[in-house]
Point group: none
Chain length 309, copies 2
DNA sequence: GCTTTATATTAAGTAAAATTTGATTAAATC
DNA sequence: GATTTAATCAAATTTTACTTAATATAAAGC
């Protein structure tokens, strides 16, 4: 088992004889001969037909040569495929929670597409819990989601931004006091299966407000629309990047402030595309900063160098 | 440049420490340490973070580990991949509907794992509608699901088996007549979001039976358990491969017979792993036939050659 | 047909590499 | 603070790989 042998096999195939291969690789013919012999022994197949003076590759042999080429190339590109330019041309399967699908994600994907031709991003929307398991099992390279309660060692979490919870109320509501609003209007609940929903429930419970249960919805869009039409008020995370044409609504910080919904990117440590993922992470942070709504969290990332792109 | 070093890198990643990796590879810790050092020098990147006593893999390092795995596997399968015994080693992401997760899928996966070392199958359970879109968008290589109403040109559908609908009733129920059972017991409905559920609803509507709505459940397991405990009757597809220890229940064919739930495998025509998918399809059909419950549909498959396994 | 020439193989010696041994350093545990 | 455990270092040793030189063999030239 050795790369050298594979390399000389390739050289022999290219040069046409052991002697020439030896010369081009700064070896003696004897060395080449021995290497090919051990290679054949190792593999248990005849690579050369030795009837003639200059051994000719058998059919199996020439198939091996192309395999050997693949392997040697894979080895030689090993470093660059992880850290270099080559790492920037690949397919990337990324998940994202619905709240990011109108603002953050489209903007980030757009600039990434523009900056890296050859990079192909597929987006899969879903709730945090599902995305977590998809990343964990390797179906997704990374996902943008709410911070998990526990991040296991084989996973990598990079925080992007803290989105504080806000009260969403119709523009014409008589008061701006969050508690008053929550107690007077019907409450539109963020689906509690979503991790944000749980965060909201937690705050509500701690406040012991007398709320009027209205409906329970999945997405920020549907909740906004309901509130817009005066059907109630809601608590939602403030979007770090607003949607293109946000509805005219009151957005009031809750008081006392709840622990914010922390958005970040989750991936597996052993994912070979970690460089790409770093770039996506970096782009997400940039988009958040540019949007100017909330400060991006300067997440410590030892392995990450901005890359002069 | 050496496979040994890659192998010990993998061992270190798996064992978690140099010492353990040394033991498992019949080496001394010193050898491992030196190998990793030369590997780092060779690649010009830091694979380990040596702040702590037992060095931890850097992000780049763990990406390298997965690359190393690819390369080592490629080398090890070099001979067999050329001689054609097992030109089949790859990762395969496959979806499957829950009804197949207790019988068909585990058996098929097991024999595939046994037959093709090097083949790595990941299974993702989900309802047909979701799997359809995941295959369509390229997140899954293939999926086992109910026949879609329409299969677009870029998708490929291979039918595996027709599962007729049956009535599930407690063993001690007073009658064996499906209609009587359905009208006397509460009806446990298969979730109508699932495509089977719709098929069942269709038949029920056509029969104009006066059923007593009970509950609506997601999985065959939960429905079986409910029926077993006498909480009602249900209509479900007969499983082409039963689960290991099926509950003692009456299983009565419905009359008049409804159009059966057709199970098959969906993939994209442009998927590069179509050879592997063919093999999986073939295996699924074999498992169905072996199980002897229902005949496998001999689906015409131009591109498929049985492979001497 | 016999020599010449170029090519591969073999065996022994030599150079290079990888591994072990035993000592040293440093973090973690008691 | 002593003890255990993990990694590293430097020198000795072993293993592996390469070269040299001799041998065998097929094609080309005379």
């Amino acid at each position: 088992m050795s790369f050298r042998r594979l390399k000389t096999l390739i050289a022999v195939a290219e040069c046409g004889s052991f002697v020439k291969a030896a010369n081009s690789n700064f070896l003696t013919p004897a060395a080449v001969s021995q290497q090919m012999k051990t290679l054949e022994a190792e593999m248990g197949v005849a690579l050369f037909d030795r009837k003639n003076r200059t051994p000719a590759l058998t059919p199996v042999g020439s198939a091996m040569v192309s395999k050997a080429r693949e392997i040697v190339r894979a080895y030689e590109n090993m470093v660059s495929s992880v850290t270099g330019e080559a790492a920037l041309e690949d397919d990337l399967a990324i998940g994202a929670v619905p709240t990011t699908m109108a603002g953050l994600i489209p903007r980030a994907v757009k600039s990434l597409r523009d900056a890296y031709t050859g990079l192909h991003i597929r987006i899969m929307p879903g709730p945090s819990s599902e995305l977590y398991s998809l990343v964990d099992r390797g179906f997704l390279d990374a996902a943008v989601l709410s911070e998990p309660v526990r991040v296991y060692d084989h996973l990598r979490w990079l925080a992007i931004v803290d989105e504080p919870l806000i009260v969403l109320a119709p523009e014409n509501s008589p008061t701006d006091d969050p508690k008053e609003l929550l107690e007077s209007y019907p409450f539109i609940r963020f689906n509690s299966r979503a991790w944000v929903g749980q965060l909201i429930d937690q705050w509500l419970n701690s406040q012991r407000l007398k709320i009027n249960e209205g409906m329970e919805l999945d997405t920020l869009e549907s909740i906004s629309a309901m509130v817009y039409h005066g059907l109630g008020v809601s608590i939602v995370p403030m979007r770090c990047v607003p949607s293109p044409r946000p509805l005219a609504l009151k957005r009031i910080p809750i008081d006392p402030p709840a622990s914010p919904r922390r958005l970040g990117i989750l991936s597996r440590h052993d994912n070979a595309k970690h460089k790409l993922i770093n770039i996506v992470f970096h782009e997400l942070c940039c988009v958040v900063e540019l949007s100017g709504q909330l400060p991006a969290l300067a997440s410590p990332d030892p392995g990450f160098v901005p890359e002069g792109v």
